[in-house]
């Protein structure tokens, strides 16, 4: 059990087709969920540590704008938006995946971002400017790997053909745009209402 905890996610990212199949049909959902949240947590931790401890040659970060709490939103918000957008689309497009499945497959796909970028936080402190090429290479490699895993995961979860997967992924991105817009609209309206009520309250209290 304990060994499985570490071994299974690694198996998934190394053998995505078999791994995602097992993930969807054979594994314990609860365990997977715990693992998913664990990966998200690790990704957040990696990003926070990276902005603080990455080498000076690859990381110029204005301490004035450094905010570890924001790093959490930079991970959670895109993941949740992605899952919601993908789920809303695929339910209309005969996808077999449930929301949980999508969330789990997405989280597992983010694992390369942790296991490659985390050691590089420390390695980037002992490299020179010429060697930063390796840093950027590995960063891009991790990102591409994650993207590939996301593609395979999506395909397996929904039982889509590759081309249909690509189309739904593109459409999900557009849907994310719509959702972001609606959120902004919603927040700004709420804000207006709150201001209106506050002003009204002030007006009334000052009348006496």
């Amino acid at each position: 059990m304990n060994k499985e905890f570490i071994k299974f996610p690694l198996y998934v990212i190394m053998h995505p087709f078999n791994g995602y199949w097992e993930l969807k049909y054979e594994q314990n959902k609860k365990l997977n969920l715990i693992l998913s949240f664990g990966i998200l947590l690790m990704l957040i931790l990696t990003n926070v540590l990276s902005s603080q401890y990455s080498g000076f040659l690859v990381n110029i970060y204005n301490p004035k704008y450094m905010n570890s709490l924001m790093e959490i939103t930079y991970v959670l918000v895109p993941v949740l938006f992605w899952c919601a957008a993908n789920w809303s689309l695929t339910t209309l497009m005969d996808g077999e995946g449930k929301f949980v499945d999508i969330f789990i497959s997405t989280c597992f796909a983010l694992l390369p971002l942790v296991i490659i970028n985390f050691p590089w936080i420390w390695l980037s402190n002992v490299i020179s400017m010429q060697e930063t090429t390796f840093y950027y290479f590995f960063n891009s490699f991790a990102a591409l790997w994650s993207l590939y895993l996301m593609f395979v995961g999506n395909m397996t979860v929904h039982q889509f053909t590759p081309s249909k997967t690509i189309v739904t992924m593109m459409l999900s991105l557009i849907a994310i745009g719509f959702m972001a817009f609606l959120c902004l609209l919603f927040f700004s309206l709420i804000q207006q209402i709150i201001t209106f009520i506050t002003i009204l309250y002030q007006e009334i209290t000052l009348r006496n």
């Binding site: 000076f56 040659l57 690859v58 990381n59 204005n62 704008y65 924001m70 020179s128 400017m129 950027y136």
Partner: protein, 485 residues
């Protein structure tokens, strides 16, 4: 990639800020009254002590030569003689180092006839004290020798490169050591006009690139031919001014977007070093309604230090040869040290003269202690006197901890002295990655060399232990008769 990531985050943050109604724009470009400012490595406007202070205001009357009328250009020779081009009065006033009138050029002898100027706009004095005047109203460039005798007159050139109806209105002129004349003329978009020593037009050099606004281009694509002919044409921006340094490189400023300061070599290529954190361009933080700086004059001194004049805000920005922003002074207003229509700047030694066209005044700025130290620090570094530069840079940061490029200067000096770790610290402070990397490589080598035996012992030790464990396990496995994975 990293930068893009940060940028993306910045956008996201900005979007979130907008939602919560916090305005993120409109950085303040103005410093506290009387104080100067500088830009931090993060692009923020930070306070800085003044490097220059206005000390004297000179008018034509106070100099005893009658009021100036729309003076438009200044030139100071190497031995600090000041030539003022008093355009409205069509004369050139020459002052000596103590600001007393030395000579006045009203006219010159042109083939036995006394000839005068008409609204001249530009003046240049060569090392031999020959005077070149861009005689704009008469559409010619007049070249006089040191005694005021006519050498030659350059008039509208005949060339296939020029259109037939070309109107030659020179406004600025410089001459290099090979006696070639470079002329900036009104309505010429192809660059500076280069004339040979004999006054024959040879070519254009250093044309500005056309800058196209994508939005405008889009509308132009959509519009009809008739509409398009009504629109503004995309033309390269005109130069606004130029100056030449001792090495024969022309520094030219241009009005609008893009690289507004350029250093042209003989081929007309831009070779200005822009290794500072921000490209030399005047203000980098500005309000949207006033827009970026409009640079209209440039002055070069020794050690590749150059200054530019912003006509919008009346500020004079000074940069060193690496493009690092040293200091700024001036402003618009009615008090001393402020201008109405500044048109020209020149250095007299380390002092500055700023000419105001509408007021017909000349303001003299002199260095403060801080300005002197900083000037001298940059000069010593340029000459390669690292120890002296180190001392002076340390003094400047004692006066102004916000002067971020000084830390890089200190870092370079102590890197040369062999203190790599400390140098790294200083480079980090001024976000100087290339130099940090240099210091780091040396430091890494030093550490690895010092600890070579320890490191090798550990590595060999680990290798040996793993080997022993492996063989031991294999042996155990063979004993039990189970194959190990």
């Amino acid at each position: 990639m990293l930068k893009r990531k940060t940028k993306l985050r910045a956008y996201l943050l900005a979007a979130i800020c907008c939602v919560f109604g916090i305005s993120a724009g409109g950085s303040l470009a103005y410093a506290a009254d009387g104080d100067s400012y500088n830009y931090s490595v993060w692009g923020d406007t930070v306070v800085s002590p003044s490097a220059y202070e206005a000390t004297t205001l000179m008018t034509g009357t106070s100099l005893g030569i009658g009021a100036f009328k729309d003076p438009s250009d200044l030139h100071v020779t190497a031995d600090n003689e000041i030539y003022i081009l008093d355009s409205g009065n069509n004369r050139i006033v020459v002052l000596d180092i103590n600001y007393r009138q030395k000579a006045m050029i009203n006219s010159f002898n042109n083939d036995g006839v006394a000839d005068t100027f008409l609204n001249p706009q530009g003046i240049f004095i060569t090392e031999q004290k020959h005077v070149l005047i861009a005689d704009t109203g008469n559409k010619r460039v007049v070249h006089l020798d040191e005694k005021g005798q006519l050498v030659q007159i350059v008039e509208k050139p005949e060339s296939d490169l020029l259109p037939g109806n070309f109107d030659f209105q020179p406004v600025r002129v410089v001459m290099d050591k090979a006696q070639r004349i470079y002329v900036m003329a009104v309505g010429v978009f192809d660059g500076l006009m280069e004339f040979s020593a004999e006054g024959a037009f040879t070519s254009y050099i250093g044309a500005n690139r056309v800058w196209v606004d994508p939005v405008e281009l889009f509308w132009k694509r959509l519009s009809t031919k008739a509409q398009r002919s009504q629109m503004v044409m995309f033309t390269p921006t005109e130069f606004t001014n130029m100056d030449i340094n001792d090495e024969g490189f022309i520094y030219a400023t241009s009005g609008d977007s893009g690289d507004t300061i350029r250093k042209l070599n003989a081929q007309g290529n831009d070779i200005l070093r822009r290794t500072g954190l921000y490209d030399p361009q005047g203000d980098i933080n500005f309000t949207r309604d006033l827009g970026p700086s409009r640079l209209i004059d440039v002055d070069i001194t020794d050690s590749e230090i150059y200054s530019v004049l912003d006509s919008k805000r009346g500020r004079i920005f000074t940069y060193n040869g690496d493009g690092q922003f040293m200091y700024v002074f001036g402003g618009m207003g009615n008090r001393i040290g402020e201008f109405n229509t500044p048109v020209a700047i020149e250095r007299v030694g380390d002092d500055f003269l700023v000419l105001d066209k509408a007021f017909g005044e000349m303001t003299l700025f002199q260095t403060t202690e801080y300005g002197r130290t900083l000037n001298e620090a940059v000069r010593s570094y340029y000459r390669g006197e690292e120890d002296k530069a180190l001392q002076l840079y340390k003094q400047t940061i004692n006066r102004n901890t916000n002067l971020d490029f000084a830390y890089s200067g200190i870092g370079k000096a102590i890197l040369r002295q062999g203190d790599y770790k400390d140098a790294m610290r200083y480079f980090k402070q001024s976000l100087d990655q290339p130099n940090y990397s240099k210091a780091f490589l040396l430091y890494r080598k030093e550490v690895l060399r010092a600890n070579f035996s320890t490191i090798m012992t550990v590595v060999i030790g680990i290798a040996a232990v793993t080997l022993i464990i492996r063989t031991y396990r294999k042996k155990q496995a063979r004993k039990r008769g189970v194959s190990f994975e």
